[in-house]
């Protein structure tokens, strides 16, 4: 089992994702340079947070054209696990690997704080280690996290159980008061219909040790590891 963390120019949470997987969870992980079309036989790819290509034009808009994304797209289409965190999700939306789009936060300001998200779906490789309805305390740090999609897409997402996380209040209520950025239906994270590509705005890699005030983010990576172990057993 090997994780790959893609490094775009301007990625700045790449080391954090590397640390979470390599040092905290002690799993093999390596960096993949954005100009590489070779994914180094990784079993799961993480598109980390940051400001790829300065986020000029639109968040994620330039990164999707980088050479590595061609390979990531192929990898995703052949069933490989791809997780986009924050800027990574924005790139996945721009690349069309996930539906919908990102707008500026409703308050028009960058927000960095711990928020609460509820696990909406445990039947996915990104949430299988979580309890249904589990509330996670995880930080957000973004200007553009206001997820939006049209009515039909939202229905589709709901119908196919693609909404993985919703913002809530501490107690679990998913109303406007629990929504930090105005996202449609309090959506914090989604996956594709095949459930092998997922993205979320909160940063699970920043919540992996109690000294950082929360280790609730571990469940996302543990889920991926479980899924990979399961897949390996199935093919063995």
């Amino acid at each position: 089992m090997k994780f790959g963390v893609v490094v775009f120019p301007g990625s700045n949470c790449d080391h954090d994702a590397f640390h979470a997987i390599g040092h905290v969870l002690q799993k093999p992980v390596e960096f993949i340079w954005h100009q590489s079309e070779d994914l180094h036989n990784c079993d799961a790819i993480i598109l980390p947070g940051g400001f790829s290509y300065g986020d000029y034009l639109r968040t994620g808009a330039i990164a999707r054209f980088s050479p590595v994304m061609k390979s990531v797209e192929k990898f995703a289409n052949s069933g490989g696990l791809v997780l986009g965190i924050c800027n990574g999700l924005q790139i996945l939306l721009e690349a069309g690997l996930l539906p919908g789009a990102m707008m500026r936060n409703s308050g028009l300001r960058f927000i960095c704080k711990h928020v609460h998200i509820r696990v909406e779906e445990t039947d996915s490789p990104f949430t299988c280690a979580a309890q249904p309805g589990q509330i996670l305390t995880i930080p957000i740090a973004h200007s553009d996290g206001n997820y939006t999609c049209d009515e039909a897409t939202l229905k589709d997402l709901e119908k196919h159980h693609q909404i993985l996380f919703r913002y809530t209040r501490p107690g679990g209520k998913d109303d406007a008061a629990g929504n930090p950025n105005g996202s449609t239906a309090n959506i914090a994270g989604i996956c594709n219909r095949a459930k092998n590509v997922a993205g979320l705005m909160p940063h699970p890699e920043r919540a992996v040790e109690q000294v950082l005030d929360s280790n609730d983010g571990l469940v996302v990576f543990r889920s991926m590891i479980e899924a990979l172990v399961g897949a390996a057993k199935a093919t063995a």
């Binding site: 080391h15 300065g54 960058f110 960095c112 740090a141």
Partner: protein, 771 residues
């Protein structure tokens, strides 16, 4: 100024337009043995500007203590460096970007952060934290501040906060702390002081010394444009007038994405072993980096401007040499290995070009397409600028009587309403609205972000240690007494670091003052230097760097003298970081007081003395509109003891929480410890003093409010006794979510914590009235 290629004959009048005095001009003629040409004049004018040459401050800065056993690099390099153990060093420095932030708040603040980050990674250190010390005019209208003025101050604050956030967030360094304060004197001249901290392996520290004759000089990073010409020299070296808005084109423009690439590329290039020296192009751009590297290395440098990557066409040598375009670096590589260096910058998509080489003979030679545009001895240019011992005059003492001082309320008066108002005063209120716009967690090292502990605490991965940092400065106190005020700034920053559990080891300072041409300002400056120096010696925190910002005045009105001190500390065991919030019902609340010590203990000042002292407090300003008297007396011995006591208490894991007493006194300290907890409160009886308001809101130093589990109270007392620190048991952490303070048998504060907390937490955004 020179914009066309025609040769302008330099005269003393043209020199004067560049801010070069007649005496300075004569000195230039002597160094060159002839008249300078216009490019040379431009070069001298920026290097000898106040901002770059420290000509008015040098004679005083010599009095600061700069040595210590942990100091690896003191003032004079891009940043100070201290040994933090495990083979690692920390590079840190604070710098001002005040004038640009008034002219163009967003860009002024971004480039302030960008500049200080470059200073850190130029040393080979990866930046791991940023703190910002900000001062603005009043944002709430009052008798002395109109709604229009308040609205303008709010816009400046908004721009600065967005600027700080935008740069740090994109660059990927956490903004973990700092402070924000409001006084009307900063309305036309906000202070934006940014501190950056980086770490490196000790043997990998880079210095800016151009060595090795024949080694290539390489320009890397952003292209040079016409932006920021004379940015530092004009903006930061003269006071403001009504025309200052016209200086907007002199403000530099920041690009954090470019800087992030530059960071990664520079650190990677340094790893090749082919880099000999490196310096960022900040103030005075290419001029400063070339002559300083040559001067420090005892060499010369020759460059050809035709090879400098340019954003615009038709730039003159004058413009290229003086441009302050951001995100640029100059480095010297080992001859024959330049390709290795260029390849790294190529990989990161950055311009990197050999523009010249290191030469023998100590000359800075600037060519333009082979034709000499400037030829100046580097050392005299960089190091032998004018030094002024400017006139100093102590201003006439203010005539004040007891009538000018704050009048205490009668015993038994309910102070709850006043307390609630004090909590909402912008300087006291929570800065959450600001700090949430900063990414405070990226790099996953932040053990205590904004407000969680008295200092910002970041761990060093792969070691057991963490570093703590705090900035402090009280302009109001320095205005009343610059020496005592400056000592308090050092003491409070050090106490904040110790209250997080870390041992203070070194300091950096940003000295914000008015015009050095005014004798009373120079008196303030000299006094403040004495205060900083004395306190740093007493507390064992040598000054490792920083900067001086003069000419902080607009229309002849100076700001309060505002030395801002940043103190760095080491926490040996990162798991023992102390935080502000109370933890558990039933814990005992103890007021630790260093000056209660039997070793010190001056006579308690009489009632009149306390009124005079209290008149300098935040409470006096907020409730009575009174700013008068004197700051509280300071006992450096007491400060040292409480610092040592806190470090040991943290190491022994005796405490549940710790929060130092500062703005707003014990009452505000207690309230903030309640706000950080959920559902807890405090019931406290304060020791009797001259008046309830003095006991609750007085700001005397050397005090910390801690909470401790009842079974550890004995251990706490033992440790406190060891340092001669008084440990007054003043109350208990309660489970009723209520704050109750009793004084002389009366309940003087009684309120639900959520009610107080709401005022404190939301005051800023309510007052800002901006989306």
């Amino acid at each position: 100024m020179a914009t066309a290629q025609i040769e302008i004959k330099v005269t003393p009048e043209i020199a004067a337009e560049h801010g070069v005095t007649r005496d300075e001009y004569a000195r230039i003629q002597k160094i060159l043995g002839r008249d300078p040409n216009i490019t040379e004049l431009g070069i001298f004018s920026v290097m000898w500007s106040e901002h770059c040459s420290y000509k008015s401050s040098k004679v005083h800065l010599k009095r600061l203590p700069t040595r210590g056993k942990l100091v690896v690099q003191g003032p004079g390099e891009n940043a100070g460096v201290v040994d933090i153990g495990d083979g690692l060093v920390a590079a840190f420095k604070i710098e001002s970007h005040n004038h640009p932030s008034y002219v163009e708040p967003f860009q002024g603040a971004t480039t302030g952060v960008g500049g200080i980050l470059r200073d850190i990674f130029t040393m080979g250190a990866r930046p791991i934290a940023v703190l910002d010390s900000l001062r603005f005019g009043e944002i709430v209208p009052s008798k002395t501040t109109s709604e229009e003025e308040a609205a303008k101050n709010r816009r400046i604050l908004d721009g600065v906060v967005r600027g700080v956030g935008s740069y740090g967030n994109c660059f990927g360094v956490p903004t973990v702390g700092g402070e924000v304060a409001f006084e009307s004197c900063y309305a036309q001249n906000p202070l934006v002081n940014a501190l950056a901290l980086g770490i490196a392996r000790k043997e990998e520290i880079f210095l800016a010394k151009a060595k090795g004759i024949g080694n290539p000089v390489i320009y890397v990073g952003a292209k040079t444009g016409r932006d920021g010409i004379h940015g530092a020299s004009l903006l930061a070296s003269a006071e403001f007038t009504e025309e200052s808005q016209q200086k907007r084109p002199n403000v530099q423009v920041g690009d954090p994405f470019m800087e992030k690439l530059l960071l990664e590329a520079c650190l990677e290039a340094m790893k090749t072993g082919a880099v000999v020296a490196i310096q960022d192009m900040g103030a005075a751009g290419l001029t400063c980096s070339t002559c300083e590297m040559a001067s420090r290395g005892g060499t010369g440098i020759e460059i050809d401007l035709a090879k400098v990557p340019q954003r615009e066409t038709g730039m003159t040598p004058y413009e290229i040499m003086l441009s302050e375009s951001q995100e640029r670096m100059l480095l010297v590589a080992e001859k024959g290995r330049e390709q290795e260096v260029l390849a790294v910058f190529n990989k990161w998509g950055l311009d990197a070009t050999v523009v010249g080489d290191v030469t023998d003979g100590g000359l800075l030679v600037v060519k333009d397409h082979g034709k000499v545009a400037a030829r100046i001895p580097a050392h005299p240019l960089a190091e032998e600028g004018p030094v002024y011992n400017r006139p100093i005059a102590e201003p006439a003492p203010r005539t004040e009587t007891e009538q000018d001082w704050f009048a205490f309320a009668a015993d038994g008066t309910d102070l709850t309403t006043n307390f609630t108002r004090l909590l909402a005063a912008p300087t006291i209120a929570s800065k959450r609205w600001i700090t949430e716009q900063y990414d405070s967690m990226v790099r996953t090292n932040t053990l205590a972000g904004p407000g969680a502990s008295d200092a910002a605490v970041v761990r060093i991965k792969e070691t057991k240690r963490a570093l703590a940092l705090a900035t402090d400065g009280n302009g109001r106190w320095c205005q009343l007494n610059p020496k005592v005020g400056a000592m308090h700034a050092v003491a409070e920053a050090a106490r904040n670091v110790a209250t997080s559990g870390a041992r203070p080891i070194a300091a950096t300072n940003c000295l914000n003052f008015g015009s050095p041409e005014k004798p009373d300002v120079m008196w303030q400056f000299s006094q403040a230097i004495d205060g900083v120096g004395e306190a740093c010696v007493a507390l064992g925190t040598p000054i490792t760097g920083g900067n001086v910002s003069f000419y902080n005045e607009t229309l002849r009105r100076s700001i309060y003298p505002t030395p801002v001190i940043g103190i760095l500390g080491i926490l040996e065991d990162a798991s023992k970081v102390l935080k502000v919030a109370f933890r558990k019902e039933g814990d005992v609340i103890v007021l630790l007081d260093g000056s209660n010590s039997s070793k010190a203990g001056p006579q308690a000042p009489p009632r009149a003395g306390k009124r005079r002292e209290f008149s300098s407090s935040q409470y006096s300003k907020s409730m009575g509109g009174i700013v008068a008297g004197q700051p509280p007396a300071i006992e450096l011995g007491a400060e040292k003891w409480i610092i040592d006591c806190m470090v040991l208490l943290a190491a022994e894991a005796t405490l549940q929480s710790a929060h130092d007493v500062s703005d707003g006194g014990v009452a505000v300290t207690l309230a903030e410890s309640c706000f950080g907890a959920t559902g807890l409160g405090a019931s406290v009886t304060l020791p009797e003093d001259v008046a309830a308001e003095y006991a609750l809101f007085g700001e005397r130093g050397a005090r910390v409010v801690v909470s401790v589990a009842p079974e550890k109270l004995g251990a706490l007392r033992n440790t406190a006794r060891q340092y001669g620190v008084g440990a007054h048991e003043i109350g208990k952490v309660t489970g009723d979510n209520t704050m109750r303070i009793e004084y002389k048998g009366h309940v003087v504060v009684l309120a639900p914590v959520p009610t107080l907390g709401d005022e404190w937490a939301h005051s800023l955004e309510r007052n800002l009235k901006i989306q």
